[in-house]
């Protein structure tokens, strides 16, 4: 691991911890449980992989076991934001089955293709995982395009958290897919695009998610339709105490 890789890894984990802390502070994990799980999982994954780095065989196993889970969680996290904004679409009966069905079919197709026709000297299972991971990037990108396209078509009011979460995933997936394409065609000709760009785009995505987690809705809007948070209640109680003190002061004067 060179200095640049180390810098990217440290920046990444710092941003991820920051996102998780802000989500906990703003109680956003209640609204976005899958996204919070994804971030927590990614942190654990980085810690585990870093710990196993000296043990080649164990690292190899850990990588191939943890990578598919990360991909599944990322798809679910994008879907979570999609569902929060376009929940009304799930009133359409066929959409309820077609949307997840199309995702599942695409994933199944890529897994089977990877498994049954692996490249020369490659194991079927690893080929299936790589194929599935690549397809997952396209699935996420397609959901992101559909998300923003529908938001424009239906003039959905701007929703900071959902929009930024989806934009982050879309950006990261788009660049990862492009890097995979460049690597498969040009092999090692453009090392920055195929090796570094996905990491840089992921850092950018983390920045976008951090800005989403840092954004705080005004209490009146945030408390709508949800249980008030502890902070809201404390603020309310302190305000009531202040008002009561004023009333008591007035009564004493009389």
């Amino acid at each position: 691991m060179n200095r640049l890789d180390l810098t990217i890894a440290v920046t990444g984990i710092t941003l991820e911890v920051g996102i998780l802390v802000l989500m906990a502070k703003r109680h956003l994990y209640r609204q976005f449980p899958v996204f919070a799980s994804y971030i927590a999982y990614v942190i654990l994954q980085v810690v585990l992989r870093s710990a196993l780095l000296p043990y080649e065989h164990l690292y190899f196993l850990a990588y191939w076991i943890t990578a598919p889970v990360e991909v599944i969680l990322s798809i679910l996290a994008v879907h979570e934001s999609f569902r929060r904004v376009f929940g009304a679409f799930y009133l359409v009966r066929w959409f309820r089955f077609c949307f997840p069905g199309a995702i599942a079919l695409a994933m199944l197709y890529s897994l089977l293709t990877g498994y049954f026709s692996p490249p020369a000297h490659a194991h079927g299972i690893y080929s299936a995982i790589i194929s599935g991971m690549l397809m997952a990037q396209y699935v996420i990108l397609t959901i992101s395009i559909a998300f923003f396209g529908l938001a424009k078509l239906l003039q959905v009011p701007w929703r900071i958290h959902e929009y930024r979460i989806v934009a982050g995933f879309g950006l990261s997936s788009g660049v990862t897919a492009l890097a995979a394409g460049v690597r498969s065609v040009f092999v090692t000709r453009f090392p920055f695009v195929s090796n570094m760009l996905p990491a840089v785009s992921y850092l950018l995505a983390l920045g976008i998610w951090l800005s989403a987690a840092a954004y705080r809705l005004p209490p009146k809007v945030a408390s709508d339709g949800q249980r008030p948070t502890q902070e809201d209640l404390e603020e309310l109680v302190s305000r009531l105490r202040g008002d009561l003190a004023i009333v008591r002061g007035l009564l004493k004067r009389r």
């Binding site: 009304a88 679409f89 923003f148 879309g170 788009g174 660049v175 995979a180 009146k220």
Partner: protein, 200 residues
């Protein structure tokens, strides 16, 4: 350019394009005056009469086949016109509601909690009605394109099927949306409430 690079590039361009559309070319919100000025009159009772099952059954029974086909063509075109008005008015209310939401977020009002619940419900209803209008619009378009009123007797589609699409009862939802719009308008003054009632 090889296809392995072309496909992600096309996806990437599409992604950047939709992001630009939703951010740089975001819909321009407007105020209640725009709704009053630009709304197209649509009485939910008229829509209810058009989508009444009993009325359609009566027409089928009492008219000759040729007369029913002619009546059904007119009813389909009328449904299309009502749907256009509904979509237009829903869009106007939605953009106004977005403005109200922005004002709430900027804490420019005192009765925020109540207005917020009205705004949230109106935004949700507008979204459901927009989804309805896409599905219903496609259905009406196919009827007009394939001249469905000329199909043999029983195959002539019933306009009444438009009443509920994708779980959305259009009359109930539209009535509720206009009710909410009038309630929100009342917060701008009695005159606005009356003018909204007249225009919607």
């Amino acid at each position: 350019m090889p296809i392995a690079v072309l496909i992600p590039a096309v996806f990437g361009i599409a992604f950047v394009f939709v992001i630009l559309l939703t951010t740089v070319y975001a819909p321009r919100v407007h105020d209640v005056d725009h709704v009053i000025l630009l709304a197209r009159k649509l009485d939910p009772s008229d829509l209810e009469t058009l989508l009444d099952v009993g009325e359609e059954w009566r027409l089928r029974q009492s008219l000759t086949a040729a007369a029913f086909r002619a009546a059904q063509e007119e009813r389909i075109l009328l449904a299309r016109e009502y749907l256009r008005r509904l979509t237009h008015n829903t869009g106007l209310i939605q953009l106004w509601v977005m403005r109200e939401k922005q004002q709430l977020e900027a804490r420019k009002c005192d009765d925020g909690a109540e207005r917020n619940s009205l705004v949230a419900e109106a935004a949700q209803l507008a979204l459901e009605l927009k989804i309805y209008s896409i599905v219903a619009g496609f259905k009406i378009w196919s009827w007009v394109a394939f001249r469905a009123h000329l199909w043999p007797g029983l195959l002539i589609p019933g306009v009444t099927t438009l009443r509920v699409q994708c779980g959305v009862n259009v009359i109930d939802k539209y009535r509720r949306l206009t009710g909410l719009a009038v309630a929100l308008g009342a917060r701008h003054g009695r005159i606005y409430q009356d003018r909204l009632l007249e225009s919607l």
